[in-house]
Symmetry: C2
Subunit: 147 residues, 2 copies
């Protein structure tokens, strides 16, 4: 994963699956390290340390993450969709390293570091789509992907 647009993106959306089988969706901030994407849970009172996204990822680790660019000039639309396996880091060295990467990317985290678990997603599949590649006469990735 060395996609400059993915690395630079400030926000992504994380989809997990609820226990009842319905999709769950939240925006996340994230940092990429090699093939692993990290996001943290914001500081919370102890009673709500267990968040739906985290519990979903523990139970069903196949998650999907989307980064997209929107503007009214539709020929400039693009998105990157990542699928991967999630691991919940409740503590330990990898979690500390991930928090460091997040603080590097987001100064907002430096004042108030997240104290909840870190979600690590090992990317197994990435797909990019760019509007300019999907003109009717030029079948592009989305055609094949049938999104």
């Amino acid at each position: 994963m060395h996609d400059a647009r993915l690395t630079a993106a400030r926000v992504a959306r994380l989809a997990t699956v609820d226990p009842d089988g319905r999709p769950h969706l939240v925006p996340i901030v994230f940092a990429l390290d090699g093939n692993t994407l990290y996001s943290a849970v914001d500081r919370k009172p102890k009673r709500s340390q267990t968040l739906r996204r985290i519990e979903n990822a523990r139970a069903r680790p196949d998650v999907t993450i989307l980064v997209d660019h929107y503007e009214d000039e539709w020929s400039r639309l693009w998105w990157i969709r990542v699928r991967g396996r999630a691991r919940v880091l409740d503590d330990g060295e990898e979690r500390e390293r991930a928090l460091g990467l997040l603080q590097e990317k987001y100064p907002q985290y430096r004042d108030e570091p997240p104290d909840g678990p870190v979600l690590a997603v090992d990317v197994t599949e990435a797909r990019e789509w760019t509007a300019s590649a999907t003109q009717p006469t030029t079948p592009g990735p989305e055609r094949i992907d049938r999104s």
Copy 2:
């Protein structure tokens, strides 16, 4: 559903569930009409009229849609998450009406109207989250939601 931010949003993300149970995610443009949210499939060659999102929604109509606002000033973050039941409109009057709403909101659709199916999502649940409501000392909606 009379949320001004939701109505005004230009882009949302649609989560469905793949046949293998993994979440699927795409950005969508949409128009809201009462409690129903409509999105269309862009013009495609006939061979790819069936898109993953559409087939997922036919098979498992419980879908989730997210509209969010990101900026580096995190106290201004917000999101709106909608859950609903999807219906696929392959033709008919409601589809035509939805296309009219989409063309009204997005002039881009006027030159090249989408000729695929329209996805109608009847909203059953909506949740809003605003950063300013979730300071550690002021439990807000996200606490209850445990997202």
